[in-house]
């Protein structure tokens, strides 16, 4: 034991504390705050994430996992990346938006076929018609008769910026 307060270790995965009161590592998000954030921002009910555990590795990157693991875990990856915390505006990963976005009831921007193609190609586009909140949104479009989330976007000053990571961008046809 040392006298030092526990710090965030970028080399391993640590489970998020249950509530802010359980927090031992400075700046670490708690499970409660993550659940609240998804509920406030996207209307995703906390029970969607029941059974999943949340972990931090690196400065503020939160991972979501649905299996058994030791705490801490010294492995390469545990589940998938969910959210970037330790910054003023938390940012959902584009993959998390794809994976859980169908449960969202707010903060969802529906794109038409042409807008969807531009979004997935990584382009920013003017979309002044949006009258919801600014910030991170889940972009969706219709495929095979149902809404399907494409990824996360950042809405600021009448413009939707695609935050689809470079490796996941694609030039896809406009499907009317």
């Amino acid at each position: 034991m040392t006298d030092d307060a526990p710090t965030n270790d970028g080399q391993r995965f640590d489970r998020l504390p249950e509530t802010p009161d359980d927090r031992e590592v400075e700046g670490r998000a708690s499970r409660r705050e993550v659940l609240d954030w998804f509920e406030e921002r996207f209307g995703i009910e906390p029970d969607v994430f029941e059974g999943y555990s949340f972990w931090e590795k690196g400065a503020g990157k939160v991972w979501i996992f649905n299996g058994e693991a030791t705490d801490p875990s010294e492995v390469e990856a545990i589940g998938m990346t969910l959210l970037r915390t330790r910054q003023e505006h938390w940012k959902p990963t584009s993959r998390a938006a794809t994976r859980f976005g169908h449960r969202a009831t707010t903060g969802v921007i529906e794109l038409n076929p042409e807008q969807a193609s531009r979004f997935v190609a990584g382009e920013d586009q003017a979309l002044p018609a949006w009258d919801g909140d600014w910030g991170y949104l889940i972009a969706t479009h219709e495929v095979a008769g149902e809404r399907a989330p494409i990824g996360a976007g950042l809405y600021l000053y009448d413009e939707l910026r695609s935050v689809v990571p470079k490796g996941s961008r694609a030039d896809l046809p406009v499907v009317e």
């Binding site: 693991a69 492995v75 390469e76 998938m80 990963t93 993959r95 794809t98 997935v120 490796g167 499907v175």
Partner: protein, 318 residues
């Protein structure tokens, strides 16, 4: 020497075998059924004008005659993954169930890991291991794209894999999709035939034995281990099984793959192998118009809970 010549004595129709090996293979995608049903993927392909054909023996596979499996909306949504037809077989033989603990010993770039996670309905734990960090980053990319949340990724030499970083020390099932000489992939990657050497066959066979032995050790009694390769070389297939049967408590069981296969061989190049290697299955390119493949399913010996009960009864099988 063309290594394919070496296997002509093993096949029923050498000319058809060689002709099939020379034909390119169509692109195939597997549906990630935790994200979308095959019917929805088919509808999305139709809307987008992506040509597709069914694969008779598996409704979650589509052939894409125009290629480019990653250039369409279903792929971007994480509904599909480009994966050769035969590459789906070991996952079917493994038959992982939701909630189990599964080890994918040689996992990168993750085609089979993601298939396993899907079969588990993303519940339980799949430990995806590979000793090649660069290939693991491709695995992580695939797992994230497909939205898999039940995988742990480790970077170890599978021959002496340690369960220390895990929350448990035994698996219900393990897959060894071993590094190999890969002639079975010649229809996709003709270079493998030119790069083939007998020295490599012998070197890689040693690694395969070590990994398969470790997989049997790390799996609970009564659990399942699947061994697969994309080579025709008996040195890397039946000889590896024969070796591990001799060293570890396990037996080969039938795996009933849904394609035309022939039994494993018991003799090769002056060596003979345990009779039970005939339960392993060889997949030749000319039988199903696929790549070449080898797959065996093992049951780990020792007493599991069920067989312990039976043994306690004494004279069950009089």
């Amino acid at each position: 020497m063309n290594p394919l010549e070496r296997y002509e004595p093993l096949v029923d129709d050498a000319a058809a075998f060689r002709a099939a090996c020379d034909r390119p293979l169509p692109s195939v995608v597997r549906v990630n059924q935790m994200a979308a049903s095959p019917a929805r993927v088919r509808e999305a392909f139709d809307e987008e004008g992506v040509a597709h054909e069914p694969v008779g023996w598996h409704d979650g596979l589509f052939r894409l005659p125009d290629g480019n499996p990653g250039g369409n909306w279903p792929y971007v949504h994480g509904w599909t993954h480009g994966q050769e037809e035969v590459s789906v077989l070991p996952g079917l033989a493994l038959d992982p169930q939701p909630g189990e603990r599964v080890w994918d010993a040689c996992a990168a770039p993750g085609s089979k890991t993601t298939q396993i996670a899907d079969a588990m309905d993303d519940e339980g734990t799949v430990v995806a291991n590979d000793n090649n960090l660069g290939r693991l980053s491709a695995l992580r990319h695939n797992a994230e794209r497909l939205g898999i949340t039940n995988a742990i990724v480790t970077n170890q030499d599978a021959r002496n894999f340690s369960t220390k970083p895990l929350a448990f020390d035994e698996f219900d099932r393990a897959l060894v999709d071993a590094p190999c000489s890969c002639e079975g992939t010649c229809r996709k990657n003709p270079d493998v035939v030119d790069q083939w050497t007998l020295d490599h066959v012998h070197a890689v066979a040693g690694i395969q034995k070590g990994i398969l032995a470790r997989a049997v050790q790390a799996t609970r009694p009564g659990g399942t281990v699947v061994y697969s390769t994309c080579t025709f070389a008996p040195e890397e297939n039946e000889a590896v099984l024969d070796h591990v049967l001799g060293e570890e408590a396990c037996e080969i069981v039938d795996s009933d793959l849904p394609v035309d296969t022939v039994p494993g061989v018991t003799e090769w190049d002056g060596e003979t192998y345990d009779e039970s290697v005939t339960r392993a299955q060889r997949v030749y390119p000319h039988h199903n118009d696929t790549g070449g493949f080898f797959c065996a399913k093992l049951r780990v010996g020792g007493e599991d809970e069920e067989s312990a009960g039976e043994a306690g009864d004494g004279e069950v099988a009089a």
